[in-house]
Amino acid sequence: MNVGAPIEEVQSAEIALVRQLVQLAEHHRFESDVYQTGMSRVDVCAQHLCQIRTLLEKLGTPVAETADVSGLIEGLRRAVAAPGDRTVASGLALLCDLRECYASAHRTEISWIMLQQAAKATRDEELLDIANNGAAETEQTWKWLRTRVKDATPQALAAG
């Protein structure tokens, strides 16, 4: 069985999730908790990508050029250091960005689940450990996003 394909799928999903989370953190840096927790989830994705790199290298599969997200993170840190107008309401834009992240996190989670299944079928314990952890941590991410969407929606939509 070729586990390279599901690993690449996870890689692609994680890269997309990082981009979404970085966008969320940059757009909503004055929502302190969104910024801080968003960044901490970027770190989680970056750790996942490191593990994936090792797996792909072992398989001799080329690692995606975009898998190095350190540049994205650096860019974000520079962007948020610049002054900005914190009085601008971001209600609807926040909901949109949270929702996009949520969708991206779900795609990432299902990619990990595919890899879990592949690891089980190939009796690859090491890969299974990595996939279990990846799926659990991604679930943590979307549960946070779900909570944040639920908290933010009434004020964004029902406050006149």
Binding site: Q36, S40, T87, A89, K143, R146, T147, K150, G160
Partner: protein, 830 residues
């Protein structure tokens, strides 16, 4: 200890004050030190005892000079200058408060009072009390009648409600009101106006205590009793400067320490507090590293076989995950993170492992951190791993700071739903709606109540248009004050402030309501071991000041808030009627008050739950080791401690805790603003024993003000030396958000960390060469806008700063010397 010139200055001031105050001694009990002496001898004379003997009585009192004992009438109350709730009587003569005396028969304090309790009552008579409503006209606050002021507030409320709806209304209250004030507010806001934007300043002090108790045990309420200090053999104090924040509690512990079989003590705190000085092991960790050190201690407990396996198997869930999670936290790794010797972590774990009766306590060093709830839960875990809960001498005490903080949680004037109901449980919401006779949908239970930092954010971006601030001073106490000032001064935000004094926040008010204080109104309040006291009215409030409860009831009536039958939503007209109404809301709940009454409380305090089953109250929760962790009973379904993701009923049910405590584990994550080359030191803030909060009362009490008249910066000699800083020098402390200009105190604080008290603001800035008209005195100029993901408690304990020497003609620090801020010799590098 160094005898500093500044100390002698303070002593001179105190001696002058002493002529106005004299000691009275109660012959029937141990004699207490003279009140004025208690400013330096903070905890008074020792009455040592062992674990098998009751804590002896020692009655402390302080009565104004020249008042005859025959002329004094005494009124029952309790102290409101920390969360211990020491029982006392208020002495009244000629219609004014003339003193206080501790209650010998009160189990909380056995007669003792701390320095704040002994002196703080004088603030009631301060000449600058607010005595009439104020309304802003032409940019100035001017006197108005109650009708004028109240109609203006009601008109603006109607306008905001019509144009923007209830989500544009915000209410930010206190940890200083009484049950009756809070409950009236909660009914009015949640059952009447229907906004979730209601929080207390308890978010700054006790939100994590509440959150951690819910996460581990299923509901709020500290499991143990203060008597557990009399019985324990080990005390584990985490981020808790007990001698200064809870001085009578520390008196209790000191009496054990000086008696036979004293308890062993382990302390986690970056400062050399007095409890650290008494500790067998003091872990002076870097701020923001609590989870790492607590994980390390748990790993050691597991590794050395100190886990009560049977208890853990029968009464907890989550052990395997906890063991796996903490396995990597070996003492060397933890020591590197926390900046403490690995061997000290082993020693700390050994002391806890050898305990037979363990009392663990937490306070702001845990609660005001980025992993606050996570750390507090790890302390709960330690008692659970040792099987030490629910029996005498064995408990965790997630403590409070403010006297009535517990009541914001019980009444639902903070982020909780009244009487410890679960906002995610429709049956709980429906039962509350039935008590209030409103439609369940009226109660905003679609999500958790809005925490103050989020309310402030909504105000910043314009979706909250009306903000009523009650008995709290956010212009000094919230983080990043430059931002707070700009938000409060927005034109589009209508600000109402209820307070007893003009302060930094009333400066931004459109309307100010003058309120009655403690001693001037009747009501009840609850301390951190669930003890409810009745506080009777001793004197009339000054001028036109009114109790908060009456102000809320007046507002609710004028706004036309009614129940579903069209009857007034707030029908009560007295404190006692309100208490009876609150009792009905607690019936059958974990904080059941139904067995209490004002008459019962006149005989002495009672610990909840108090009902038919427990008519005399309940000293300890969970004595049957059955915790509130079933889906129908629990107050909250819990959270992921790392991200704050809320669990729902399905998630919680899947845990199958079913009455077992939940061991939640979490990895350590570094603080969000680590030191850097530009800002190389960690700034942390806290309290001194002489002051309370933003000094609204204690700053107006001559003796307390003289004992700690000015803010200071504690810095280690190791950090001071390369900066050319000596004791008493003027220094500038800068973060990315603001700066302070303070006198340096070279203290035993750990290297790399500096400390300033958070009490000081701007209403009484002295012309002493430090204050220069710019905001450089309040610690929160420096702090960061950030909060714990679960409790939403702001991170006030970690900010990166740099410290530089400023030119100054004199060297003089008035920082207290008998406490954690004691000076050290400049050359005695640690």
């Amino acid at each position: 200890m160094q005898n500093l010139a500044s100390d002698s200055r303070v002593v001179r001031v105190l001696e002058r004050r002493a002529s106005r105050v004299r000691a009275r001694r109660d012959e029937a009990v141990n004699e207490s030190a003279s009140p004025i002496g208690r400013l330096s001898d903070i905890w008074g004379d020792r009455t040592p005892h062992g674990p098998d003997e009751p804590w002896p009585t020692r009655v402390d009192q302080n009565v104004m000079d020249g008042v005859s004992a025959d002329d004094i009438t005494w009124t029952r109350s309790a102290c409101v200058l920390c969360s211990n709730g020491c029982g006392l009587d208020v002495g009244v003569s000629d219609g004014r408060i003339v003193g206080v005396r501790g209650h010998a028969d009160d189990r909380v304090n056995h007669g003792r009072l701390g320095p704040k309790g002994l002196f703080g009552w004088q603030a009631n008579q301060s000449p600058d009390r607010l005595t009439t409503p104020l309304v802003r006209r032409d940019g100035e606050l001017r006197q108005a009648t109650w009708d004028e002021a109240m109609e203006l507030v009601v008109d603006r409320s109607r306008q905001v409600l019509e144009q923007h709806g209830p989500l544009a209304m915000g209410f930010y209250n206190s940890g200083q009101l009484f049950v009756e004030d809070y409950y009236t507010l909660a009914v009015m806001v949640r059952g009447g106006i229907g906004t979730p934007h209601l929080d207390g300043n308890t978010r700054l002090c006790t939100a994590t205590s509440d959150a951690a108790l819910k996460e581990t045990f299923g509901s709020d309420g500290d499991p143990g009793a203060l008597e557990d200090f009399d019985l324990c053999d080990t005390i584990f104090a985490v981020g808790h400067n007990m001698p200064e924040t809870h001085s009578v509690m520390w008196t209790r512990v000191l009496d054990r320490l000086r008696g036979p079989q004293p308890p062993r003590i382990v302390v986690i705190d970056p400062r050399p507090t007095r409890i650290a000085a008494e500790a067998e092991v003091h872990l002076a960790v870097l701020p923001g590293t609590n989870v790492a050190v607590l994980n390390g201690i748990q790993r050691e407990l597991i590794r050395c076989g100190a886990v009560d396996r049977q208890f853990v198997a029968n009464h907890t869930i989550g052990f395997d995950e906890l063991a796996a999670r903490t396995a990597d936290y070996d003492p060397e790794y933890v020591g590197e993170i926390c900046g403490v010797p690995a061997e000290d972590i082993r020693r700390a774990a050994r002391v806890i492992a050898e305990s037979q009766r363990l009392v663990s306590t937490c306070l702001q060093g845990v609660y005001q951190s980025h992993q606050a709830t996570a750390a507090a839960c790890q302390v709960n875990n330690i008692n659970l791993l040792r099987g030490m809960i629910g029996r005498p001498g064995c408990t965790v005490l997630q403590l409070n700071g403010q006297p009535t903080a517990q009541n914001t949680r019980e009444t639902g004037a903070d982020g909780d739903l009244t009487a410890m109901r679960n906002w995610q449980n429709p049956q709980h919401v429906a039962s509350l709606a039935a008590v209030w006779n409103v439609e369940p949908s009226k109660i905003p239970a679609w999500g958790p109540s809005t925490h103050v930092m989020q309310m402030i954010r909504y105000a910043e971006t314009g979706s909250i248009r009306f903000l009523w601030i009650i008995g709290t001073n956010p212009a000094v106490s919230l983080p990043e004050l430059g931002r707070i000032r700009s938000i409060l001064s927005q034109e589009r935000l209508f600000v109402v402030v209820s307070d007893a004094f003009p302060n930094e926040t009333t400066a931004y008010a459109d309307v100010v309501f003058p309120v009655a204080m403690w001693g001037e109104k009747e009501g009840t309040f609850t301390n951190h071991d669930r003890t409810v006291h009745l506080s009777e009215k001793a004197v009339d409030p000054p001028g036109q000041a009114r109790p908060d409860r009456e102000i809320f009831a007046d507002y609710a009536a004028r706004l036309g808030l009614t129940d579903r039958d069209g009857e007034p939503l707030v029908p009560w007209t007295s404190a006692e009627q309100c208490f009876e109404a609150f009792k009905r809301a607690t019936e059958g709940q974990t904080c059941d008050y139904t067995g209490m009454s004002y008459d019962r409380l006149r005989k002495g305090p009672v610990q909840w739950p108090c009902n038919v089953e427990h008519p005399d109250g309940t000293p300890r929760l969970y004595t049957d080791l059955w915790f509130h962790t079933t889906p129908d009973i629990c107050e909250d379904y819990g959270h992921d401690l790392l991200t704050g993701a809320a669990l729902d009923r399905k998630d919680f049910s899947a845990l199958r805790a079913d009455g077992r405590a939940i061991l939640k584990s979490v990895p350590y994550k570094p603080a969000h603003e680590p030191p850097s080359d530009e800002y190389p030191l960690v700034f942390t803030s806290g309290r001194t024993v002489y002051q309370f909060h933003t000094r609204t009362k204690t700053g107006r009490t001559p003796e307390l003000d003289a004992a700690a008249p000015e803010a200071w910066l504690e810095i280690s000699p190791i950090d001071a030396e390369p900066r050319g800083i000596h004791e008493g020098d003027l220094v500038r402390v800068e973060s990315r958000r603001g700066e302070l200009q303070l006198r340096a105190r070279l203290s035993g604080i750990r290297q790399g960390v500096v400390f300033a008290p958070f009490h000081y603001g701007y209403w009484d800035e002295r012309d002493d060469g430090v204050a220069n008209g710019s905001p450089t005195r309040a610690a929160n100029e420096l702090t960061i806008t950030d909060w714990d993901p679960v409790s939403k408690q702001p991170v006030l304990k970690v900010a990166a700063v740099r410290v530089t020497l400023m030119p100054s003609e004199e060297r003089c620090s008035t920082a207290p010397t008998a406490t954690a801020s004691a000076p050290v010799e400049e050359m005695s590098l640690r």
